[in-house]
Symmetry: C2
Subunit: 190 residues, 2 copies
DNA sequence: GTCTATACCAAGATAGAC
DNA sequence: GTCTATCTTGGTATAGAC
């Protein structure tokens, strides 16, 4: 039985290079028009070489979204209120429409329970919902959100707003998505 | 140059038959797995024959979404409040996950301004936003929504909620999407 | 230094849009 | 039928554990 040795240092570095390049290409170029061929060329690999690292295009995109989540977390590491952080991510996203499109298209496709990224999104939404509900409870304690509100419901609503507003913002929007999120949070005051 | 005669009666009927079949196949089968090949087979046409009616796969799906909008409108023709109608459509959609997936994936993809359905969504969102804002104003008049609220913002938020909650509902959701919409509308009371 | 899993590539199979 | 996209197969070269 072949024991796994894990990736070599070279492979680890290449993986990171691929993710960085993919984030950049997709941010500029959009999701639909980004082929494995193009991504492979951007990092000096053949298509087979690229797929060696990720197995499939879908798995690669899943890894790109994980990398984006990490980058978002680092960028907003200062703030400790998750609701503010969510809004600041939404604000930042208006500068990277290609990534927004990747996220929305991919999450919609992954609704199919047989999609390889289905579980990724199930867990991501669960985690985000739990953490946001906790943030809502904290705000209820300090009186900036009505104590009568249901934290889980509010968390679900905030995520839906974030997703839905960013989709709409690709088609003109009277008001900025982040500003609308702020506005809704304001409506939750006691 | 040949003058256009427009579609013959036979063509019109076939177009409708294709749309009906497509709605059914997609509702059952989902969006990703529905190829032009499969749709052509379902209505007894060759692929070329199918594409003759719609020009491209994207145009066909756009037509499917138009047909769905019409069907939704007919089904909820009784109610005259658009907010209630929106919520009832969301409720109905939980029975046709394939169509929800078509809609969310397609709208996300069409965020690209070069996508052939981009304008369709721009107009659809504009129209829906205007009509919903009008419905909000009506509710402000009869006192069920706070007069201080901005009708356009509320309309945008309700659409985002509808889209976002339906995406999340593909990945488990504590509460039903329609119920959460109702809940949010309740929060808008004076 | 040996050995084998990892890092890649060339060519082609497959499938979908048109 | 043609073109383009993903992914597989079957291979060589090299990193790095022992």
């Amino acid at each position: 039985m072949a024991t796994s040795r894990g990736p070599y240092a070279k492979g680890v570095a290449k993986r990171e290079e691929i993710l960085r390049a993919a984030l950049e290409v997709i941010a500029r170029h959009g999701y639909r028009k980004t082929s494995t061929r193009e991504l492979a060329a951007a990092v000096g690999l053949s298509e087979a070489g690229l797929l060696h690292y990720f197995g499939s295009k879908e798995k690669l995109f899943e890894a790109v979204l994980r990398a984006r989540d990490e980058a978002d977390q680092e960028r907003s590491a200062g703030r400790d209120d998750l609701i503010d952080r969510l809004i600041s991510v939404v604000r930042h996203n208006s500068d990277v429409p290609g990534l927004v499109q990747l996220y929305s298209t991919f999450s919609a496709e992954a609704g199919d329970s047989e999609h390889s990224a289905h579980e990724f999104f199930v867990e991501r939404y669960d985690r985000l919902r739990d953490a946001l509900a906790e943030a809502v409870r904290a705000r209820q304690s300090d009186g900036t959100i009505d104590a009568a509100a249901d934290p889980e419901k509010i968390a679900t609503v905030l995520i839906a707003l974030s997703d839905g507003l960013q989709i709409q913002s690709q088609f003109r929007l009277g008001t900025e998505a982040a500003e609308l999120m702020d506005h809704v949070v304001g409506l939750l005051r006691p």
